[in-house]
């Protein structure tokens, strides 16, 4: 373990900078086996950071400049997130590099076979760590990562730690199997994971970034790749931690449930929405209608559960095809396909499920050539939804009565996805919030969706 309080002094970067120069500097020192990092006072000549996509997975790529050896710096920080009932929650989080607090941690994207280095810088008042469930052969500061025990033989951490108030530890592993994984604190996880020390790790297969696994039938449209990271919050636990007090887990009682660190309606805002400065990840699944020739590839949803019980997530209008779980493809010993369709993705604590999905109008309804076979009631005889275009048909908008507000832009469809343990789509009294998002289907191009 090393200390780094002198490293970060005066070199905190903005979120968008992602501290890449610092990553490089840290790499040099780590690979030299240095026990103490030298102060860094200049952070000039950082390469420009490409903007995150507005929707879909916003990868944080490793730095270090050596192909196949990505390096990630993670810094534990404290901060606040906004919740749908207007409340805020005090959180702990892994920030990207030395950036400001964010929740959840950055989405670490690597390639199969990469030797991944993760350097944890701990600013918290407790020792902390990163555990990598699903990865094998993880080292910490060059030695096999091990559970930690105190002098009395009692386990204190599931893996090696970075000391409180400035410690560091460097983990490394070979990302041998493609898939979706969690990373999370292994130290007092009942406290630290609950406080927000978790994130997603994506290992892309050798077949390419548009495949989930090394199977031809796991191909998806890389423009339609989404994360569904599900979590929960007991606000009293967070309050106790903020006040520096202990919390009796026997009293644990979640009041909030989140998707990608947000509750609906924040969940469908863009990535990096300005009014959610610490919650960078949206959950809107914007896709095109499936078409055998024009748009043949499915989308991909990577589900992760960091909560304490099964979350039954229900996408309307399509059965997701579960093609992998916990970083392994669903296949038999001879490559048999063991994938299965689900309309309720019932994902357990600590599990990840990889799901490909598509949507199309099975009837091909069209206002002229193939109208819906019922008389559409007058709008006075309907209650109109806030995402409705006024028309049953994709790409068609109708004038809504004055006073009826819609967010519909171009006749696109909004098809909901939500946790079906329905008491969990509430936020301590604010109903119809929490882990809800939408599949947005845009009309075929050219369209005026902007």
């Amino acid at each position: 373990m090393t200390t780094f309080s002198n490293v970060i002094g005066g070199t905190l970067h903005g979120r968008t900078a992602r501290g890449r120069a610092l990553f490089v500097a840290a790499l040099a020192l780590v690979s030299a086996g240095a026990a103490t990092l030298a102060p860094i006072t200049s952070a000039t000549a950082r390469p420009p950071v490409p903007p995150s996509p507005r929707v879909g997975i916003a990868c944080t790529e490793g730095s270090g400049g050596v192909a196949g050896e990505p390096i990630f710096n993670l810094t534990t920080k404290t901060g606040y997130i906004s919740l749908p009932d207007g409340n805020t929650a005090f959180m702990w989080g892994y920030s990207s590099g030395f950036d400001d607090f964010q929740h959840p941690g950055p989405v670490l994207c690597v390639n199969e076979g990469d030797t991944v280095t993760v350097i944890l810088h701990n600013t918290l008042p407790d020792a902390s760590s990163v555990a990598f469930p699903g990865q094998e052969g993880v080292t910490a500061d060059g030695n096999p990562a091990q559970p930690q025990f105190n002098g009395g033989g009692t386990m204190t951490s599931l893996t090696d730690t970075a000391a409180a108030d400035g410690g560091t530890v460097t983990y490394s592993f070979v990302a041998s199997d493609p898939g979706t994984y969690l990373y999370e604190s292994g130290t007092n996880p009942e406290k630290q994971v609950r406080m927000g020390l978790f994130g997603a790790l994506i290992v892309r297969p050798a077949m390419g970034a548009d495949f989930a696994y090394n199977r031809a039938d796991s191909r998806f449209d890389p423009a339609e790749e989404f994360m569904v990271l599900l979590s929960e919050i007991d606000p009293y636990q967070h309050q106790r931690v903020e006040q520096g007090n202990s919390f009796n887990m026997n009293n644990y009682h979640p009041r909030y449930w989140l998707i990608n660190g947000r509750g609906f309606p924040d969940s469908i805002a863009d990535n990096d929405a300005s009014w959610l400065p610490t919650q960078p990840y949206g959950a809107l699944a914007q896709i095109g209608e499936y078409d055998a020739t024009g748009h043949p590839l499915p989308g991909m949803a990577r589900y992760l559960n960091v909560g304490t019980e099964d979350y039954p997530f229900h996408p309307h209008g399509n059965n997701g095809l579960v093609i992998g779980r916990d970083g392994r493809p669903l296949e038999g010993p001879a490559g048999e396909d063991l994938s299965f369709e689900k309309f309720a993705i019932n994902i357990g604590p600590g599990q990840t499920w990889d799901v490909i999905f598509k949507w199309y109008d099975a009837e091909g309804y069209d206002p002229v050539t193939n109208p819906v076979p019922v008389t559409v009631p007058s709008m006075a005889n309907e209650e109109i939804g806030v995402f409705y275009s006024g028309s049953p048909y994709l790409g068609t908008r109708e004038t809504l009565p004055p006073g009826i507000q819609t967010t519909n832009q171009c006749g696109e469809y909004y098809i909901i996805s939500h946790n079906h343990a329905l008491f969990q789509i509430t936020s301590w009294g604010a109903n119809m919030t929490g882990p809800i998002t939408y599949m947005r289907i845009d009309p075929p191009a050219p369209n005026d969706c902007g």
């Binding site: 229900h314 076979p373 008389t375 006073g403 009294g429």
Partner: protein
């Protein structure tokens, strides 16, 4: 739960919007509606005056006509959970306030309107044949909203969401934010061409935390095109298996739901529950708890309903308290029968449905046969099905040989999570449990799913 204070401005202006939609100019509108007062006074509006189509004209002869309303049902009054259970507002012999659907197909307008405050739980079970492109037939379900008799302060809309229906447009999905919902007194017709056999569920999706929990939930399934062919000694199947592996002799639906008495009481008493305090006080099988689950069926064939002259349900024989819970869960079968069980869970907790002494083969899940994309058989045997909220499972068991000496052998089907298999009563086995009775023979062919055959 809708609160009037949120909406009157929008409602008033919505009516102005109608003018352009209905191609009636403003001057004509003012003549018809009696002037500007009608424009601003939401409560004076009579929408159907100006609409080009009357609400009833939405469709002719739907295959099924469902009405959403409120009502009362029965759960064992012991133990009491004061003040929530039994509800002191409940008319005898009932205990629990619900929202629910009723089958009003074929009723007169007067009979239909009589069903306000007479909801049932679970909702009417129904089924559809798989859509056949060679012989295309639309399945149409008309939904109306009779309003809430006990809560006239609410004017919640309702919808029908067919949970799990693939590749449906939002207009027919019944999810109200992405499309439309049915206000009180109005109608909407959902059109289905089901292409995927299997077990589904349906529910109202308006404010569904509340409407689902209050009881607007039921089971629906799709019969495969393969039905009627003779394959593997069967003519009735759960899926288009091609080999008879999903064939059965009789079939029973097991719809799982829950009652948190505080929330039901709160709706009746104009209160709001804190949903994160949710607990399942009662876990229900087809809308009842054991031993009521083995009481007789009411009239549950949705396509041949029998009702009284007012259009109301007729209570199962000897059980006036189960008048609005018509679905029995008793499984009667002959030794050697292949028995299909369709499970669907719209409770908020995972259940662990167990058959003691009988192994089930899981042949489908979420309306999908247990086959990989390359045809690999992924079916499996178990005695316990863990069924999460919103999941369905299709299982088949072979009825064991009759042992005797009684007329039938009894096997229990129950929730292995024992907190869901009691009624909070000391020593009482209840909740999500029923009996499987295996006879040596003589159980007649079923007239409809869940038919006892004796």
């Amino acid at each position: 739960m809708s609160h009037p204070a949120r909406r009157p401005a929008g409602d008033a202006s919505r009516h102005q919007g109608l003018i352009t939609r209905a191609s009636i100019d403003r001057r004509r509108f003012l003549q018809l509606a009696g002037g500007a007062a009608a424009v601003t006074g939401a409560t004076t509006w009579v929408g159907s005056w100006l609409t080009p189509e009357f609400a009833q004209a939405a469709v002719a002869n739907p295959d099924l006509y469902l009405a959403g309303t409120d009502g009362w049902m029965y759960l064992p009054p012991t133990p009491a959970l004061p003040p929530f259970h039994p509800d002191n507002l409940a008319p005898s012999p009932f205990t629990t306030y619900i929202f629910g659907f009723r089958n009003v197909t074929g009723l007169t307008e007067t009979q239909k309107d009589n069903q306000k405050n007479k909801a049932q739980h679970s909702a009417p079970q129904f089924w559809v044949n798989q859509f056949d492109p060679e012989n295309p037939v639309d399945f149409k379900v008309q939904v109306t909203n009779l309003g809430l008799a006990l809560r006239p302060d609410l004017f919640d809309a309702h919808t029908l969401h067919w949970h799990g229906f693939r590749n449906v447009i939002p207009f027919f999905d019944g999810e109200p934010t992405g499309s439309v919902a049915v206000p009180t007194g109005r109608n909407f017709t959902y059109v289905y061409r089901p292409r995927d056999p299997g077990t589904y569920m349906y529910h109202c999706h308006v404010e569904d935390v509340e409407h689902v929990h209050m009881g607007m939930t039921g089971l629906v399934f799709v019969r495969p095109l393969q039905d009627g062919q003779s394959i593997g000694g069967h003519t009735k199947f759960m899926y288009n298996d091609g080999d008879g592996s999903t064939g059965f002799d009789r079939e029973f639906s097991m719809f799982l739901s829950e009652v948190w008495t505080e929330s039901h009481w709160a709706d009746a008493h104009i209160q709001l529950p804190e949903w994160s305090d949710y607990r399942a006080d009662f876990s229900l099988l087809n809308g009842r708890v054991y031993p009521d689950t083995i009481a007789p069926n009411g009239s549950i064939d949705p396509f041949n309903p029998v009702r009284d002259t007012d259009g109301d349900l007729i209570a199962p024989p000897g059980h006036p308290e189960l008048k609005y819970q018509p679905h029995s869960s008793l499984v009667n079968c002959n030794a050697g029968d292949q028995v299909a069980l369709r499970f669907a869970n719209l409770g908020f907790r995972e259940q662990a449905m167990t058959t003691a002494g009988i192994r089930m083969r899981v042949v489908g899940r979420d309306a999908t046969p247990m086959r990989g994309r390359d045809g690999t058989d992924t079916s499996y045997e178990t005695e316990t099905l863990n069924i999460g909220p919103g999941e369905s499972y299709d299982a088949i068991f072979t009825a064991p040989a009759h042992q005797g000496p009684g007329a039938f052998d009894t096997y229990m089907l129950y929730n292995r999570n024992y907190t869901r298999s009691n009624n909070l009563a000391p020593g009482g086995f209840g909740g999500q449990a029923t009996e499987i009775r295996v006879y040596a023979g003589g159980v007649a062919e079923q007239a409809y799913p869940n038919d006892w055959g004796v």
